[in-house]
């Protein structure tokens, strides 16, 4: 089952039209950008639908579709809790309760970036510079992961070199971001978000059709539970339609902690403090516009997060029913009535004799309609089909491409390809924009204004910083191209952001009493504890970084001998600590200046709408 896309003239035409539309939006963004508010906040007058799609498209990258789809194929539908959290917290709570205070405070204080919002709320250049530096130094890790994921997929699909795909991909994305700023980014995001949503609707329909319907497909998946690999059973996997074992103090709860802490809480809650997402709240003109964006954001996330999880999980049922037949000798019965066994794969050799193809048996669902083969020595061979991971060559990232090639009509390949390119580009453009604005405005800009208070700022530094961010992301993507660590960069950035920014961000918006020292202390603590946890304790990230092995003589985690801790996400450790520090220091330090607070939180019923276009 090849996964390389057979590119026809029509395909090239569609791709050319797609790139032409991106170029048009870049040109239009460039033409209509007149000041910093235009370039950094799309003029603060974005349409609710554009804001919602841009927010969602920036959040969903290629790895969210391909990677998490593959994870769902391994671990099942318990991941749907992340979809629910993304809708309930990441969209509804964020847009309705977080978005409006963010937008309003940003407008009142004249903040154009997330670090500037924090800095102005706490009246501290140090906070703005520190937040800007965290984004500028660490977001390229996340950008490198997205860049590498998109380039690897494009290279494999089009059968071109990884380096060429990487360069082209980065150049196109950086081109429209640098030229057209956030206006171009959000317009392109809208186009890309529409393509992505259309692809997911088709994927959902064909997936359920392929497994015989909703209930039938789920039932078939439920029935496969005895085929869960032993290594996954050992960490608590109880089937693709069941929650993993939940508890503490034993290896058998590791999967539960991976799913609950890393995937559901780490990503579901961690998304709230992502600078590239929070800044989008400041792009609309009123709170009502934000609330109007809720339905589009929710439906988009339902499709983009929910469908890959369903399709990934159900791909097991599809392959068990339609996958390529495997012939072999039964070495173990897993479930007699359901015909689930372990087969030692065999094939006829050169001399016509049946020979073993592998050392390890494969778990298959026997096909009762296929005749048995009886060998001369009396052994009987049976035919069956394995689960998705087998057909993906053992690589979870290949499950979704394999499933789509095998189960969906050929024309969907192009739509899926475009949707994955769109997913990667929309995330990457938001990252480049945030990296550029963080360094250009929050680090360099603060430094320039410190030396010359009359310095007018300007977009030159922002554009230059975007190029620096692009260069560092490209360098990382080239340097770590074949290393496991690049796949962990996203988790590292999410982990750092959540604990570093969330207490200061939420406290700054909702707790008038919160003080500048408290914000500084909580950010520093959150950053330090997250970094410590990621580098030395969280086994996947720590072992990928490699420092912990050097310090401990080969261990993957400082807490390797204590069950469950090495799989606990830093958000569960660093965020409570940084929140506690924020609360304690606030209580121990004098209340902020009332004049400053009145600028942040007005008492009178004065309007907080975006200024007219001429003044924006």
């Amino acid at each position: 089952m090849p996964t390389v896309l057979a590119v026809s003239a029509t395909d090239w035409l569609v791709v050319t039209l797609y790139l032409g539309a991106i170029a048009f939006f870049a040109w239009r963004g460039f033409r209509t950008t007149r000041n910093e508010a235009d370039y950094l906040l799309a003029g603060r007058r974005a349409h609710p639908a554009v804001m919602a799609l841009s927010y969602g498209a920036a959040f969903i990258s290629t790895s969210a579709i391909v990677g998490f789809g593959g994870v769902a194929a391994l671990f099942g539908m318990s991941l749907l809790w992340l979809t629910f959290l993304n809708i309930a917290v990441g969209i509804f709570l964020a847009f309705v309760f977080l978005g409006e205070p963010t937008r309003r405070m940003g407008l009142r204080l004249g903040a154009h970036t997330f670090p500037e919002l924090l800095g102005k709320r706490f009246d501290s250049r140090a906070i703005q510079v520190f937040a800007g530096l965290v984004v500028f130094l660490f977001m390229p890790l996340y950008a490198a992961a997205v860049l590498a994921g998109g380039a690897r997929f494009a290279a494999a699909q089009l059968d071109v070199g990884y380096d060429a795909a990487l360069m082209l991909f980065a150049a196109i994305t950086a081109g429209y971001v640098i030229a057209g700023g956030l206006k171009a980014v959000m317009a392109v995001d809208t186009l890309q978000g529409t393509i992505m949503a259309a692809a997911m609707i088709v994927l959902l329909v064909f997936t359920y059709h392929g497994v015989g319907g909703v209930t039938e497909g789920h039932q078939a998946l439920s029935d496969l539970a005895p085929m869960v690999p032993e290594s996954h059973q050992a960490i608590g996997h109880r089937g693709w339609t069941a929650m993993p074992a939940l508890g503490w103090g034993s290896e058998q709860y590791n999967l539960g902690w991976i799913i609950v802490s890393t995937i559901i809480l780490g990503v579901g809650i961690g998304a709230l403090a992502q600078p590239q997402l929070a800044v989008r709240f400041m792009t609309v003109s009123s709170g009502r516009e934000l609330r109007k964006a809720v339905p589009i954001g929710a439906c988009f996330i339902l499709l983009m997060v929910g469908v890959p999880y369903l399709a990934g999980s159900l791909s097991n049922a599809w392959f068990a029913r339609h996958g390529e037949l495997i012939t072999g000798e039964i070495v173990r019965t897993l479930h007699d009535q359901r015909g689930q066994v372990e087969l030692m794969p065999m094939a006829p050799g050169a001399g016509g004799q049946w020979e073993a193809l592998a050392d390890q048996p494969v778990r298959v669902l026997l096909d009762p309609d296929m005749p048995r083969i009886t060998l001369d020595d009396g052994r009987t061979l049976r035919h069956g089909r394995a689960l998705a991971l087998h057909y993906a060559g053992g690589d979870p990232d290949q499950i979704m491409p394999r499933f789509i090639t095998a189960a969906l009509p050929g024309w969907f390949g192009l739509l899926f390809f475009l949707s994955l390119l769109a997913a990667a580009m929309s995330t990457l453009s938001g990252q480049f924009h945030t990296i550029g604005s963080s360094f250009g405005r929050d680090v360099l800009g603060v430094w320039q204004r410190r030396n010359n208070p009359d310095h007018a700022g300007g977009l030159g530094a922002v554009r230059l910083a975007m190029l620096l961010g692009l260069a560092s992301a490209l360098t990382l993507a080239f340097t770590f191209r074949d290393c496991f660590v690049i796949a962990r960069f996203t988790a590292i950035f999410f982990g750092l952001c959540a604990a570093t920014f969330m207490p200061a961000f939420l406290g700054g918006l909702f707790w008038r009493r919160m003080t500048r020292p408290a914000a500084i202390a909580s950010m520093a603590t959150g950053f330090a504890v997250s970094l410590f946890w990621l580098v030395l304790v969280k086994a996947k990230e720590a072992s990928a970084i490699g420092l912990v092995q050097q310090l401990t003589g080969g261990q993957a985690s400082l807490l390797e001998d204590i069950p469950n801790w090495p799989v606990v996400d830093p958000i569960l450790v660093a965020l409570p600590i940084s929140t506690l520090v924020a609360a304690l220091v606030t209580c121990l330090t004098p209340a902020p200046d009332e004049d400053h607070l009145s600028r942040c939180f007005p008492r009178s019923a004065e309007p907080a709408k975006a200024p007219p276009l001429a003044q924006a």
Binding site: G76, M77, S78, L80, W81, T83, F84, I87, A88, I91, F92, V96, E100, R104, V214, T215, E216, G217, H218, Q219, A220, L221, S222, G239, T241, A242, M243, S285, S286, G287, R288, R291, K292, A293, V294, P295, I296, G297, A298, C299, I301, L302, G306, F601, P602, R603, S604, A605, E606, P607, A608, K609
Partner: protein, 42 residues
């Protein structure tokens, strides 16, 4: 129900579309009201 034996997974499966539907209803209400309450409530 729906072929999902584990009630916690079934709950997640149902909550995803229902929460999106609730968001759609909420959003439609916002689109229909002409009120713009972006003035500061504090």
């Amino acid at each position: 129900m729906f072929g999902l034996a584990d009630p916690i997974v079934l709950l997640a499966f149902l909550l995803c579309p229902l929460s999106a539907l609730a968001c759609v209803i909420y959003g439609i209400a916002q689109w229909r009201t002409g009120r713009d309450d972006s003035s500061d409530p504090s």
